[in-house]
Every structure is written in C-alpha cells, then in structure tokens.
Point group: C2
Chain length 404, copies 2
C-alpha cells in the first residue's frame, strides 16, 4: 500500500473540475465540482440517517439503485434541503449535466452542501455546468476538492496504490466536512474513485462495512447532517480480475479503502470548525467492540473534554465522566487513562482513580496539535478509535453567524 | 400557589447555613452548606445514571434507604469522585456532622460538587462543620444557596406556599448547576424542603415523577454529571393530614413541587456556563409525549442551534436538522417552526420548508435573553418542553482551564 498524489483523479480513467458559478456570494471560491469516469462505473453509497434529508440524496439513491454511475456533481453554499421543489431541482441538475457530458441522467450522482432551507436558484448551474465540462481534466482533482468545501479551511484529498491479482490499482478520495459532523450510519460528503474492477454488490459491502469504523466514529459537534453521503465509483480500468466475492483481493481492497477513509476522517476532524487540535480516542481492553466504540465516541463528543483539550488541561475526570455516561457497561475501577502526543505519553488515571503526575509534562503533551486520549478498560481484548477535535471560541464564532 | 421568599428555609422547622472552610482556594466564597430539619423528616431522592458516581451518592443512597433524613451537608470545589478513599471520607463527614448536631449519622445526606479525581482533604471539614452548626438559622438559606455553587454566577432559590387539607404548607429549594448538565433520570444538585406531611413512599413517587418533565429535560452541554442528585425532605410540621396515597392533596403537592423545579430548571439553564440566553424548546402537536420529549431535547442540545441563538441568527434549518436526527418518528413535511421572545413571535418554517420572513424582526426577537423555540409537529396532541442555553465563547473559556 503506497500513498500517492492525485486525489480523486489518481485512479485511471477519472477526470475532475471545480469552478465558481455563483451559488456562494464569495466571488472567488469555487462552488461546484464535477468528477467523471471515462466509462460507466460500478457505484455504491451510504447516506445520512437524519429524517430530514437533502433532496439530492433522494435523487442519487434512485440513480445508483442499479449499481452504476458515471459522474458526480456537487455544489457547496446551499444544501438543497427543506426546499419544496428540491427534488425537481436535483433532477434538473442531473439532466443538465448528462446532456452536457452526453451520458445518462440516471448515471449522475448529485450532491449539495451548505445552508439548509434557503431557496436554490437554477441559474448558477446553467452557467457552471458547461464550464465544469469544459475544464474536466486528469489534473482537476484539486479544484474539485476545493469546490465542495463550506466552512472547511483545507482541502481533503488522498490516494493510494495497491495490487490486485498482479495489476496495479488506485483508490483516491476527496471529502468536505467541518461542522454539523456526527455521522450516523453514513458520513459527510465523501467521493471516492477507484480503477479496481469490483462488482457493485461487493463495492456496497466494502463501503458499508468500512464506514462503521471510520466516518461513523467521527464527530466534530454531535450534529448529524441532513446531507451526509459517501459515494464510491469503481470503473474497472485497472484490468484486474473483478472482485466478486470475499477473499484475498477483497481484503486488499478493504485495506486500501480503509487507508483512504481513515486519512479523510483525520483530515475532517483536524479541520473541524474552529479546531486547533485533532483528537483521537483509542479504547483498548474492552470486552467487546460495541463497548469500545460507545466509549470512544462518548469521550470524543464530550464538550467538556473538548474544551479541556483546547486549554491543554489534563482534566482526566471529564474523560471518566464521559465513559460513565456512554451507555457501555464498564467497571470504572479498572479504567486507566493516558494522554499522548508527539511530546510523549503520560498516565493520569490508574484503576479509575488519580495518580500523581507532572502537570508540566502533561501540559507539554497537550499543547501539541494531535492528541491521543488512550483509555484502557482492562476488561478484554476489543478496541476501537474515534476522531474529533477541540471546542474553541472560533467554533462559536463561525456558527453564531453562519448565514450572514 | 403563591411564590414566597426564604428558599430552603421557607418551610417550617428548617434552618440552614453556608461558610468558607477552605476546600476552594478562593478565600472568600462559601464552600460548604448545611440544611437541617428540627425533627427527622421523610426523605426521597433521585441520582445520576452515570456509571462513574461520586462517593457521596453511594453513602446518601444508603442513608436514605429507610426513608428518613434530617440534615444535608454539601461542599463545592471537589466532587469526591474517582477517589479511592471517597466513601470513607463521605462517611467520616456524615459522622462529624451527626456528632456536632447530635443526630444520627445515617440521617445525614452528604453531597459534593466540583473537580473530579482530585484528593479531598478532611481538614477543611473539621474546621467548617462546627462553624456550620454554629451559624444555623432560619435566615441561612441564602448562605447555603451560595455555598453549593461552582461555576454558577447566580444563586438559585425559590419557594412556594400552598394549602393541603386547610393547612398552609411550604416547599422551597436551592440548586447548583452550570456546566456538565445533561441529567439522565436524575438532576443536578437540588435540595428541596417542605413542611407538608407526606409519606416517604409518596415523596419518592412525587420526585421521581417530577424530574422526568423537569430536570431530565434540561441540558447545558450534553455531559451527564457524576454527582447529580436531587433530595427532598418533608418534616410534616405544617400539620396537614399526611399524604399517603394519590388524590387531590397529592396533586396539589405535585403542582407545588413542579412550580419549584421548573423555576430551578430555568435558573440553571439561564446560568449555564457562559450563557447569554435561556432557551426553551416547546414541542406541540406530537403523536405522543415520548416523541415530543425526544425532539425538544434534541433541539436544545444541538451545538449548532445553540451557537445560532448566541448569534441571534434565525437559522431554522438547524432546528429541522436536530428534529431529523432526534430518533423520533416525524413527518418533516408537517413541521412548523417559530421563534418567540418578549419582542414577539415569528414563523420561519411552514410544513418543513422555508417561508418568507423579516430577518430584521427575527433578529429583534432573538436578541432577547429568553428565547422560545416553538416546534409544531402537526401530528397529534402531545407536547413537551426542554430547557437549555446558548453556546458562547465563555463556555469554552470557562472549561478550557477549569482546574487551574
């Protein structure tokens, strides 16, 4: 497994573009992205469980139902959610793109992100879509990665190279996500492309299985978005013998996928709205995985833990508190807690009670920008990780006047 | 039902005091409180469901198991939680107080609030308890209300007068709570006193029933504390015929209790850490109460809704989003949302979609310090309220360096 450049265009047969079409008032930022496979690709996706769903999700779900897609179009600045004519608009966007690219409208994945409940004008799409088609290129991944961002401060893209049956394959992805992040059986907007040949069924199995340990273990602010979606396209252009069942090749593919999704999770958490630190809670010694997951997620979601991390305060009592209300059955008198970063590791709680530790050393560790909160339950072999970020003044600032 | 002065000393036969004993480094703030009934009283309580529990809760639960208590002692500054010798300390504190007051140690309710996991020295209690006993008076409710506070900026006390069987009765209470507030089948530290005669069994029924609609519908930051506890003492000194079963008197008593607990809920939410606004989400038109409660609490807990309220931004899409992920079954296309305050009321969402509204008027409404978020589900007759506050820079500031 090798990390490579190229993001969503790293795999063979994919081109992308990103332009400014005027959905966002900011006149410079690209606000619409296109990713396109040269040939129809197998496709799979997972979606938010929020009952309030963006109209694009309904349309995409229908388009992907036959396991095939060829292009992904995504705008930022407006979520096309809680709009009475939202589905009609999403269908119209698909048709405009299909006609421009000379592909089928039902092979278009359509996605939107931004403010909920504001009317979405069609004019920017009429301007933007021809331009997107014109600028499509194998070097366009960067522009697409930029165009899907909202309050994000950094592009999120990654790609890997791996081998299936002697053939070199690639898998890359881009993501947007900074606030309203607490995926539930789904994820943020994540678009993945691969040239590996894999059946639509196994592709769905791969992404559905993977998100349980990656995007579903990520939280910036506990708010599950209405527009979460992760889509993967597999166009088979690597020429490998198609993956149609579990086995060695599927395992390799899952590893490649996981490498990409974990990297995107970390990138989303690190760029959480207002965040100054990436937090990872690693739970070990759990009696089962469900227990480990509940605890990792409870710790990563605690506003008090997040605020303490912002202040570089080794307030481990709040970690214990979040373990206690996680809903997992634990013997709190067996729990050890450590904080760790590039500056070292420090034990702050042993068997659920305080141990003497150097506040100075703890501060040094917690002043770093990537912090691991290590929880050992001393009760078994299962483990899990969750990702999040600190809670800062800027989170409040960003969200106090997001619309204006 | 009449609101009266006197807080926890409003009822006959109760005295209280609050002094500084040195648990907190702040040399001025009172940090230990005593509430005492002249005679043994019937007692009932509810506790946090956090698996990590403060040692005082274990001791209090045991002491109250016979339905009788006479005194409540509570310190702030240290939660006596995650301390290996915590239970021993809580027992020792009960014994010291009992010996000072010449009552039984098993009639003492002991409570602590403050930092979790720091060693608790006994010396401050040795100094403070005799002083508390000496200063006990019918005018001491104020001092006790102050002594139990942590990051709170205001005392929380209230009392009411009501009639049972022709006899004038009183019920009053004090509360502490500002952060780590998301009670779950329990509450923050709340101490209630009444001179009504009511059996221990009915008293437990009253408080267990009441908290479901009051303290369990309150959230400042989604963190369920390790030390939550609500205790009520009823010494019977009003001379009414004891309430021993459901009926008119019990209903009157429940009304008095609810008046006090709702007022304390509102006071806690309004004084949430860093809060500038009290928020109440009132859900109507639900098909059942469980559905209404889930939605009210989901909206009040959303970091994005809370941040928008801080910024006086009528971002109703976030309200819809929180309804959608609440776990309640709703038809989102029937939902209306209004914002309301002393400056008026404004409809911002009709049938799950945007309606034109004056942003100027919305801003004027949302700049007030008490905001109602009104959600009508259009799907039935059930309703529920939840209380919370906005998320502000100061929440982060307070919790970024709480220990130091």
């Amino acid at each position: 497994m090798k990390r490579i450049e190229g993001g969503v265009c790293a795999a063979k047969g994919y081109r992308a573009s990103g332009v400014h079409c005027g959905i966002r008032h900011n006149k410079i930022k690209r606000d619409i992205a296109l990713i396109c496979s040269d040939i129809p690709a197998n496709a799979a996706a997972v979606y938010t469980t929020n009952l309030v769903k963006g109209a694009p999700l309904t349309v995409t779900k229908q388009h992907i139902s036959n396991g095939v897609a060829q292009a992904i179009v995504c705008n930022s600045g407006n979520a096309n959610t809680c709009n009475a004519n939202g589905i009609e608009l999403a269908e119209r966007i698909s048709e405009m793109l299909a006609s421009e690219l000379k592909i089928k409208a039902e092979d278009v994945v359509v996605a939107s992100t931004g403010v909920i409940g504001q009317p979405l004008p069609i004019e920017p799409f009429e301007r933007g879509i021809p331009q997107l088609a014109k600028e499509l290129s194998a070097e366009g991944g960067d522009s697409a990665a930029e165009a899907i961002l909202t309050t994000d401060t950094a592009k999120k893209e990654i790609a890997v190279e791996f081998t299936l049956g002697g053939k070199t394959c690639h898998l890359g992805g881009i993501a947007m996500g900074s606030g309203m992040i607490h995926p539930n059986m789904a994820t943020m907007l994540v678009f993945l492309t691969t040239d590996a040949a894999i059946s639509a069924e196994m592709l769905q199995k791969a992404i559905s299985g993977d998100v349980k340990n990656t995007f579903n273990m990520l939280s910036v602010d506990g708010d599950t978005s209405t527009n979460d979606m992760a889509v993967i396209l597999a166009n088979g252009m690597a020429g490998n013998a198609p993956v149609t069942a579990e086995g060695e090749d599927f395992t390799t593919f899952m590893e490649a996928l996981n490498t990409v999704t974990v990297a995107l999770c970390r990138a989303i958490a690190a760029d959480g709205e207002g965040a100054t630190k990436l937090l990872e809670c690693k739970v070990t010694g759990a009696k089962d995985e469900a227990c480990a997951k509940k605890i990792a997620k409870s710790v990563i979601c605690s506003s008090l833990v997040k605020s303490a991390m912002f202040g570089a305060d080794a307030n481990w009592g709040r970690v214990l508190c979040a373990i206690g209300y996680s809903g997992a059955e634990v013997d709190v008198w067996k729990v050890d807690v450590r904080f760790s970063s590039a500056k070292g590791e420090i034990l702050v709680c042993k068997n659920g009670a305080s141990v003497p530790f150097s506040e100075e050393k703890a501060k040094e560790i917690l002043l770093e920008s990537e912090i691991d909160i290590l929880v050992d339950l001393g009760d078994g072999e299962a483990c899990a990780s969750a990702w999040g970020c600190d809670l800062t003044y800027d989170y409040v600032k960003i969200n106090g006047d997001y619309r204006t």
